[in-house]
Point group: C2
Chain length 209, copies 2
């Protein structure tokens, strides 16, 4: 199957097979895809909380309009934006670039100036809004990679972000919830994945210039 066929197969599964869990290797593949997602200037201004714990997920479900996939999928993936993106954060990232590429820190002075200039030109609110968007890129990468692996992944925006932050202790970690996705395997009787996929036709969705 091509990636296009895999994307046709994928579905916003609501009913997961509770007994079917991702293997350690499968989960690690999904996290590798998220890790490899591109982000603005490479900053990855988010963290990803991988929730397996049943009691935590029960609480999250109550803060997520009681959507069953929050507790029933193999794992719940919570994308959370950093809330303290400051000069120290930028410098720490430039340190990582220098270390990863084995280059002298000084050779990155121009890049550092660009990173810090970008960080310091935005208000906290703008930075968090921009981070949320970066998290959505990572979400898109996760959903596509999961489809390629034949793993179900259902994104969700219907949840109380403030309550999620509280349940997961994100405020103390300098994080705030962006978007979530349930990953695992569809139940045989999941209704949504049996429905015909609805998409706008190409001649409506695309404008060629």
């Amino acid at each position: 199957m091509s990636i296009i066929d895999k994307l046709k197969w994928r579905s916003a599964v609501k009913k997961f097979e509770i007994s079917k869990k991702l293997s350690v290797a499968q989960l690690d593949d999904l996290l590798s895809a998220i890790q490899l997602a591109p982000s603005s200037l490479g900053l990855q201004t988010y963290k990803i909380i991988v929730v397996a714990d049943a009691a935590t997920r029960q609480k999250l479900r109550a803060a997520g309009y009681n959507q069953p996939q929050i507790t029933d999928a193999s794992h719940l993936i919570v994308f959370a934006s950093e809330t303290n993106i400051d000069s120290a954060y930028g410098k720490n990232y430039v340190d990582l670039v220098a270390k990863t590429r084995g280059v002298e820190r000084e050779t990155l002075a121009g890049f550092e100036q660009m990173v810090l200039g970008s960080i310091n030109s935005q208000t906290d609110e703008q930075k968090i809004a921009a981070s949320h968007k970066q998290a959505y890129i990572a979400l898109g990468v996760l959903l596509t990679a999961a489809a390629e692996f034949g793993i179900d992944a259902g994104p969700m925006e219907g949840f109380d972000a403030a309550k999620f932050d509280e349940i997961l202790g994100l405020k103390e970690k300098g994080l705030t919830t962006s978007v979530i996705a349930a990953v695992g395997f569809r139940a045989d009787d999941d209704v949504y994945s049996k429905m015909i996929k609805v998409r706008r036709p190409k001649n409506e969705l695309f404008i060629h210039i």
Copy 2:
């Protein structure tokens, strides 16, 4: 190569091979991936402008900090959010669902209520901000699918959105630019794709609960 290896191969290419264009089939595959990207309630509250025209791209490049990939890649993909997401837009979508699935319009009354409720509970500003985020999911899907096909795709946020809207005549179409990506093939002497990819280590990026 697994999708993980493909994602390691992908790069924010800055220098594209000008003479190497996507075939009609390759471009169509990328657009299929974008078309299949999931979105909130399935609404796909965006359009995608596929820019091949050289003169238009020259103008866009001037509005995009003179980034060479805007003119030199095979195509420039502009994701643009809808600006008039109203009840008519929602009803039109429910029409599409009924038609695609071959079901009576009346059986979708509950779903329609949910769609219209969602649309009417948000300000225009909130709706556009939410649409931008949906466009970023589609961007993530595009970048991953392109990597799977061995096609280069470089996302860009450094551009003047108001000027892009003007050059592309988006305001009259009820659209506003979200984010852009250049697609095509890296030049042999592209510097960025030869650099070691920098990503936060998994023990920093992920929190397991």
